[in-house]
């Protein structure tokens, strides 16, 4: 299966949910609307995308949005395992709750916790949402957002 065939397959599969499809090198990125993401995820899982490789969020302060992306692939279907499909959606930066896909993919369990601690986005329906790597006090600062700037200390103090 070539990457364009995969892109067509995903486009047909998600049909009415698709907002935009981008084809990159070894990566197909599908944009859906937030309210459709659970249904879209269920369809993807039925089609053979059986696990989440990573869940990530990207902050775009200029546009005022945060993109949440689930990178999916397959262990059980060899032809799908060649590529990675990114299932993503955008939310306004001040919105802090989105639906959890833990119910669809158990492998999203720890990954959603990581996005929660880095960006302060609450995944509704996640059974055990708490910081994974960071201390709770650090997680409150939403350190992976772009407006959190790491101050580097000079080596020699003036």
């Amino acid at each position: 299966m070539s990457i364009d065939e995969l892109a067509d397959m995903v486009r047909n599969l998600l049909a009415e949910y698709v907002v935009n499809v981008e084809v990159g090198k070894d990566l197909v990125h599908v944009e859906v609307k937030e309210e459709n993401v659970i249904e879209a995820a269920k369809r993807m899982k039925e089609a053979g995308f059986d696990h989440v490789k990573d869940v990530t969020a990207i902050d775009y302060p200029k546009e005022g949005i945060i993109k949440i992306i689930y990178h999916l692939s397959s262990y059980s279907k060899k032809e799908l395992s060649r590529y990675v499909v990114g299932l993503g959606y955008s939310i306004p930066r001040d919105k802090n709750s989105v639906p959890s896909l833990y119910g669809v993919w158990t492998s999203a369990d720890f990954q959603e916790r990581e996005v929660y601690e880095g960006f302060g986005i609450v995944f509704e329906g996640h059974p055990d949402l708490r910081p994974l790597l960071l201390a709770p006090t650090v997680a409150e600062l939403k350190p992976l957002r772009k407006d959190f700037i790491v101050k580097e200390e000079p080596i020699f103090k003036k």
């Binding site: 990159g24 696990h51 060649r82 158990t106 990954q111 992976l144 580097e152």
Partner: protein, 417 residues
């Protein structure tokens, strides 16, 4: 949402310590205790597992990671592209080439360049050397977990062979920073492939001795067999990766399913076990070392046949001052050309993955055209395997914990990133 365990309640002075630090227990109810294992526990490394036990049967387990979290993703956003290489290899210093390779590949995808063939072979060479060394490291740690001190000494001694080879090839025992955008940093020195072949012969002999003393040892087998079984469907659902996945009967290896570098030109097998228990995971690694040795033989033959070929992409190589080229011709060493310091990567997003010793590592790299990455998302193999403890430990006895923990080959610095 269960309550966060906030450590030990009340003030504990030095004199009223009733238990050893690092192994606290708390009574939750009749026969139900909460046991904190780690992070200073010699068995768990820099990680804590909080388990709730009924008698000595684990009823709930909560892997508590993050004790060696170094904020790789945030740090990466503030540094120039080239500085990502020495930064990200800190995740698993003894597996440095495998861990940084997908980052380099992702940036190469964005730049639209491909390294010369000899550079690809050299990358595979170091990847496989790293893989063997990392497996031996894991064996040693596992050996000490199950109280088999010979299995601690032997692999750590034999690992030295591979670490020395890597040292000779790259100039550093660990943290090699070997693959760079468009190629590699050094060519293989004269006589390297001969020593490599010697090391391969030695390792084959040693693997047979490991089998006799360890893997087929009835005492070890009694502790490993049918312990920590991960059924195939659960392995897929949890999204675990690497040898742990293949030991559960899933045919998935990035080198085979989504070949990178020159893996599609090499002849090797992907061993798969069906049992999914701790013993199968050990056997899996033994078999994978054999395949890595087989790959290394082919790489050594290829390198001998194609001596003196270019190891750096033209785009960067042609910017090198004459002195740099002279150094390369005389010593085989590529000095980092100055253009890397100001490198700007075209706008776009790339996803790259590689099979490290512990499983798949994936990088999502996004660039906005600046001299620093906009976002780098890294998910390492150990980060994905940590979920196993939550779902597999319940139902086992406390004494099975070191067995399962060791057989998963969890490496906290890699998991925490």
């Amino acid at each position: 949402m269960s309550a966060r365990i906030s450590g030990i309640s009340g003030k504990v002075g030095f004199n009223d310590l009733k238990q050893l630090p690092g192994f606290w227990t708390r009574k939750l109810g009749k026969d139900l205790y909460e046991v904190f294992i780690g992070p200073q526990h010699p068995g768990s490394g820099h990680m804590r597992i909080i388990i709730r036990v009924d008698g000595d049967v684990i009823v709930e387990a909560d892997p508590d990671m993050g004790y060696v979290h170094r904020t790789m993703e945030k740090l990466g956003e503030g540094r120039e592209w080239i500085k990502g290489i020495p930064l990200y290899e800190r995740m698993a210093i003894h597996d440095a080439c495998n861990v940084t390779l997908p980052y380099v590949e992702a940036v190469e995808k964005l730049l639209g360049i491909e390294p010369p063939l000899r550079a690809k072979y050299l990358r595979v060479l170091l990847c496989e050397i790293n893989r063997i060394a990392a497996f031996l490291y894991g064996f040693g740690i596992f050996g000490v977990f199950v109280g088999h001190s010979t299995m601690y000494m032997w692999p750590f001694g034999d690992r030295e062979v591979w670490v020395e080879l890597a040292d000779w090839l790259t100039g550093a025992r660990l943290t090699h920073s070997y693959p760079i955008f468009g190629g590699v940093r050094r060519d293989a020195p004269e006589g390297f492939t001969d020593s490599l072949r010697k090391a391969i012969r030695y390792m084959r002999k040693r693997l047979e001795e490991y089998r006799k003393i360890y893997v087929d040892n009835p005492v070890i087998r009694a502790r490993l067999e049918d312990v920590g079984v991960i059924p195939r469907n659960l392995a897929i659902e949890l999204g675990i990766t690497g040898p742990n996945l293949r030991a559960s009967g899933v045919e998935y290896d990035v080198r085979y399913n989504a070949p990178y570098e020159v893996y599609d030109e090499l002849d090797f097998e992907i061993p798969v076990f069906q049992e999914g228990d701790s013993l199968a995971r050990v056997w899996q690694r033994v078999e994978e070392i054999k395949q890595s040795l087989h790959i290394l033989e082919q790489v050594a033959d290829w390198l001998d046949k194609h001596k003196g070929e270019q190891i750096m992409h033209d785009r960067f190589w042609k910017t090198a001052p004459p002195l740099y080229k002279k150094v390369f011709q005389e010593t085989g060493r590529v000095k980092l050309v100055p253009v890397f310091a100001l490198l700007k990567v075209p706008k776009g997003k790339a996803y790259a993955r590689a099979e490290t010793a512990r499983g798949e590592i994936s990088y999502y790299v996004e660039s906005n055209g600046a001299n620093k990455p906009y976002r780098v998302r890294i998910v390492s193999a150990s980060a994905r395997n940590a979920i196993v403890f939550k779902y597999i430990l319940p139902g086992h006895r406390v004494m099975d914990l070191p067995t399962i923990y060791g057989s998963i080959d969890y490496f906290p610095p890699e998991g925490d990133r």
